[in-house]
Amino acid sequence: MLEPANTAAAPRGKLHAIVAEFDDVTAVTEAAKRVRDAGYTQFDVYSPFPIHGIERAMGVRSTRLPWIVLACGLSGTAGALLLQWWTNAVDYPFKISGKPLFGIPAAIPITFELTVLFSAFAAFLGMFALNRLPRHHHPIFEHPRFKRATDDGFFLAIEAADTRFDANRTRELLQSLSSHPIVACDEPADDGATPRWVRAGLVSVAVVALIPFALALASRFQDSSKPPFHIVGDMDWQTRYRAQAANPHYADGRAMRPDVAGTVAFGELATDQVLATGKTGADWTTKIPLTVDAALLQRGRARYGIYCAPCHGIAGYGDGLVAARASELQEPTWVPPASLHDAVVRGRAAGQLFDTILNGVRTMPAYGRQIPRDDAWAIVAYVRALQRSQNATTEDVPPAARAAMGL
């Protein structure tokens, strides 16, 4: 006789499974084999402890989980490599300790961690998903003796979802296997839907969890007179030496380190002798080795304004602010800077001007540390333009403009 699990008059849903109880491992394993051989696939065995070999007895196919874990692990590997390659070598290329922009050895730790992380998540969450967890209720708990499954009871439940399920024949099969009463477990009347208060609670938690993100987003579009909030203080205020400060750790006491002798900074290898030294063989080049265009002249003008104008003056007459102040104070050791419009300076080759900027001359210091090579050439181009502007003849004015100026 099929005993209903619910004796109370609670409303009941459709049949979930027919459950048989067994006394020991041997009996339940034997029953599992019989049920398997009868062609059932949608059934489960419940026991207080893992039973070795029960998967075989039940005919459970190997889980797909390892493949999911493998796929996710490989995604982690590929994702980590792509992320590091993109950020370090493409989006924001930045040389660190002279290592390649995308150095495989440096990328391995993150790749390893991400592979492990993705695999672990896949194993953990995949197991939950494949078992259709979490769920707050299962119809098997309707069985009045099911709590014994945590102690000394062994149960076998054939689910109604099985294609071979037939209430009468399935019951007869189980009755032939077990001496205990066979119990039918029904779905709850509401199909096991999550109770409203649980759903409300979950939604509330989700909403509360979004608040910090909403606040962060809002602050992106608001002006504030308060000082910024520093989450990681020692990244915002790092201990460091300022460029011109003294550093007792070095013999020469300088915080700013000169290049190590015999080394070349990345991208500064002098493969072109003219470009690097301003010389062709032993002679100064007269031609600027870069394409002289408006962009180069603008660059030269800006660099000239920063580095040269303080002494040489904006127009190049040697009357810059520093020079003017020094002669005003009548400094005895002050040597006035040269006017760039002297015949001597005008007669100098472009290469020599370039060399003077980088390496200095007489009392003029070398600017090679501050001014990159191409910028020095830009300054030379601008100086040439300045010189021409201050020593121009009528022929230099375009004919059309000449008429307008009444020349």
């Binding site: 070795h52 070999g53 390892p66 300790s97 290592k99 050895p105 391995i108 730790p109 390893f112």
Partner: protein, 404 residues
Amino acid sequence: MNTIPATSNARLGPLATRLRTFALVVALVAAAAGLWLGHARGDGFQRFQHAWLLACAFFLTVSLGALFFVILQHLVRAGWSVVVRRLAELMAANVVVVALLLSPLVVLAAMGDGSLWPWADPAAAEHHPLIAKKAAFLNGQFFAIRCAVYFGAWILLSRWLLRRSRQQDEARDTLPTEALERRAPPAMVAFAVTISFASFDLLMSLSPEWYSTIFGVYVFAGSVIAFVATTILTLRFLQSRGILRGSVGVEHYHDLGKLLFAFTFFWGYIAFSQFMLIWYADIPEETHWFHVRFEGSWAYVSALLLFGHFVLPFAGLLSRHAKRNLGVLTFWAAWMLVMHATDLFWLIAPGVTHGGALVDVLDVLAFLAVGGAWTFGLALHAADRSLVPVGDPRLHESLAFENL
């Protein structure tokens, strides 16, 4: 399970005598040929010493891996491994053979012969300031004392482990097992310290100017691989002769396969950790050691280690089905032993093979000589006694062991 099938056919029987005779003949012939050829080189036995150290290191790592395994089983009171533990105990106790074979090299170093360990020559310190700074540690006398301590500790420990385990075979109570479990923690500490320093002394000091604090762990990782692989092959050999068929089954192979897989990855992890820090810091005195191994034909050996010692076996042993398929597992065990030998060759030989990564006939002869002697010792230790700890309180658990 009332009658224990494990006790039937768990002895070497007539195989012991044949094994001993065969191994001894191989050892003596190979040793004689090796010594004669080594002498003929006229290099003061320098090449021969390297080959001999390589062979000794190989079988020493197998014995030390076994020692680790035995201590570990007692430490965690493992049940599954009881049926294979006696083999490990025998291999561990067999470290005495390596001690005997390695001692001539240690004596030579103590007498100031720097052809193997360069620092052993007192003149070396005069030429190299780094060696001079390490002279307080790296000198012949202290080195010989340390070697005596390492090998003394290993021999005493392994013999005690074997003796107690055999006492348990006969005992009516479980007192011997309890003693083993009680002493396992300090034994494990002693093992960690000794294998680490022995690696520094025997292998790392071949390049005395170089150092790597993780080196001991690197050698340890290789040791466990060597031991597990040797055990798998030994079990397969014995079972093919009808021995241990009643006790060791696919479940035990599966677990040995897991250990092989785990330590293959562990080796890769440690090897990379050692490499990456040196690569990143880029300090000449450290990079030199790798630089030598990335030049010429040594680069191919380095690549072989990366793929053969790590990538391929990792992929090959990843699946449960591979570990439970005895043919596949045996292949990987043999493969890993070859890789372990390659690894030691990579550690030891670059100092002496100036022409590139060429295996010398002396390497082969030394390997046969030491391997023969080691096998001889193993058969001697096994005698005609049970290869299964028949009195172990967890034997039933081990016999009934199932992974799935």
